[in-house]
């Protein structure tokens, strides 16, 4: 009985003194340092992982002087994030799994939130908080700095550089020897479509898609337009270009004009045939559909990035009986083009089109480089899948985007 009483007293004592015990036993050992790979204005604070049910919160205080006052900068509830959650900045491993972190970019003052300045030393302490009691750890200090290189993107840089080198070497080799490029049916069909339009004495309608001039798919579309315009100029076929964006229209006008000049047909060029049909998605679709139905062009060439208007345009075009060739890197729209168009350029074929049509050796060399790069990627995928299956995710981690 006496034994039981002593145990009850002990338990009561533990319950009453728990915050003191917390305060005495759990002050987090925090480390602070400049957040890597950022533009500055941020300090990373780390402390050892807290195991258990995650009822202990952590409060991060910041001061501009060691003596304080310390202002609350961040509150991390429960277990919080661990370093291995951000492998791009902090890597992977047991140590990273056992360390919490938080990015501190500002702190609370009487005047509101104040951002951290670069190149200023800040003093930081982390407190473990439970049931209203805090156990404050030792003071540490750090300085936020703007970094010149984002090392988290090293893998991206290495892979990008390697692929670029492969493409550039292929371009260089293409000058010396002839390269075999597989036949792309959709591009072979462009000649057929233009020939058909010429025979029928009808126009060719070129549609760019809905993206602006700074997007690579639109640049690819304009490159194809240049090649198409040369041929329409040679065949003396009417070419109409319906743009969505005024900048794309202006660039297209110059592209077509230059193409007509190059083949010696400046007289056939008419600026009014390259126009803005609408600058709103469905207004544009309605305008182009109207043109397809009323003017009945013999060929519709739709190249670029498309959204929901893809099916509206392609299905209407299909009902007019025109030969339709589409090319897009918008994989969500590809099924619509495949079902409604005579030929569809899928993904990379859109980017290959200009080089393929020009038959210029250096351009074809870039296509060869693209294919070699793809072969390397396929090999990496297969090898990486095998290693990951065997519990060695080295390649998976090396190729991860950060």
């Amino acid at each position: 009985m006496r034994w039981r009483a002593s145990r009850v007293v002990t338990l009561l004592g533990v319950a009453v003194l728990f915050p003191v015990v917390l305060s005495a036993q759990a002050p987090p050992r925090a480390i602070a340092f400049d957040t890597p790979n950022d533009a500055g204005g941020s300090i990373t604070v780390t402390w050892p992982r807290v195991d258990g049910n995650g009822t202990t919160n952590h409060l991060v205080y910041v001061a501009t002087a060691e003596a304080g006052p310390y202002n609350l900068a961040a509150e991390v509830k429960g277990k919080g994030a661990v370093l291995s959650d951000d492998p791009g900045n902090y890597g992977r491993g047991e140590e990273q799994d056992a360390t919490h972190f938080v990015h501190v970019s500002d702190f609370t003052t009487a005047d509101g939130r104040q951002p951290l300045d670069n190149d200023v030393t800040y003093f930081i302490r982390v407190a473990a908080s439970k049931d209203g009691m805090e156990a404050r750890g030792a003071i540490t200090s750090a300085m936020a700095e703007a970094n010149f290189i984002n090392w988290a993107k090293t893998n991206n840089f290495v892979i990008g550089t390697a692929l670029s080198l492969i493409i550039l070497v292929s371009i260089s080799l293409a000058r010396r020897k002839e390269m075999f490029i597989r036949r792309i049916a959709g591009l072979e069909a462009i000649d057929e479509a233009l020939g058909r339009a010429t025979e029928m004495g009808k126009a060719v309608l070129f549609v760019h898609g809905l993206r602006e001039m700074d997007k690579i798919s639109t640049i690819a579309a304009v490159n194809i337009l240049g090649q198409v315009a040369r041929k329409t100029a040679q065949y003396d076929t009417l070419l109409k270009v319906a743009s969505y964006d005024p900048v794309v229209m202006s660039v297209s006008q110059e592209t077509v004009k230059e193409a007509y000049l190059e083949v010696g047909r400046p007289d056939a060029y008419n600026e009014d045939h390259i126009f803005v049909a609408g600058t709103d998605q469905f207004s544009y679709a309605a305008a182009v559909e109207g043109m397809m139905v009323r003017e009945r062009p013999a060929a519709h060439i739709m190249m670029g990035y498309f959204y929901a208007e893809s099916l509206l345009l392609a299905e209407t075009g299909s009902q007019t009986g025109a030969i339709q060739i589409a090319g897009t890197d918008a994989f969500t729209q590809l099924p619509f083009f495949v079902t409604t168009c005579d030929y569809t350029l899928m993904g990379e074929e859109l980017y290959a089109a200009s080089a393929y049509l020009s038959r210029e050796p250096r351009m074809l060399g870039s296509l060869k480089g693209q294919d070699i790069g793809k072969a390397f990627l396929i090999a990496a995928l297969l090898f990486g899948s095998l290693l990951a299956t065997a519990g060695m995710p080295f390649i998976t981690h090396a190729l991860a985007a950060h």
């Binding site: 533009a39 010149f148 692929l163 602006e212």
Partner: protein
Amino acid sequence: MFLTRTMPTLLAFLFGAVAVIIYYVPHTVAQEIERELSLWLRILYAFAYFLGLYSILNLHWNRISRREGGWAYSGVAIASFLVMSFFVVYNDGAGPFAPQATAGGYQWMFTYIHVACSSTMFSMLAFYIASAAYRTFRARSSDAAILLVAAIILMVGRVPVGRAISDFFPEAAAWLMEVPNLAAKRGIMLGVSLGAIATSLRIIFGIERSYLGGGEE
């Protein structure tokens, strides 16, 4: 020649290289350059919109003056532009220099005419999908037959009645989306990324000049 070929090629190289470098440099200087470039782009776009406006009005005016087929629609387009412009300038009585009013004629026409018309166009997609699907799913080849079977499984698996019939349908539908569909999608994306790199290199190094209107030198 310098202004039409060499200068644009040099600019393409310069800005292309700067854009690549900025991607790997998080420093505030790099961010400021990026901000400055995007500001130039916005200014360029603002001027280009005048060209776009001229182009669209010119297109419709020519159709009306030549009495081309459907010229009445062009009349509606120009009339709509004039009416909308009037209400934008009127700005619910506040005038053209005040912030755009959240009520009034312009907002009313935008909400009850423009949005309604856009929604009508969008809703037509359902019928277009049906007619396109009908043509595609006529099982005239083995490819079309496979597509038809996959589509039926997917459609049945995505509606409540599919699970009521059998658990096979939702599970098979999920497998179709997560395995063959995702694999194809990622394959396309890999090809697109490589194509984008190759196109960018061709432009940055002046190999691709079709966008300048010419090809080889």
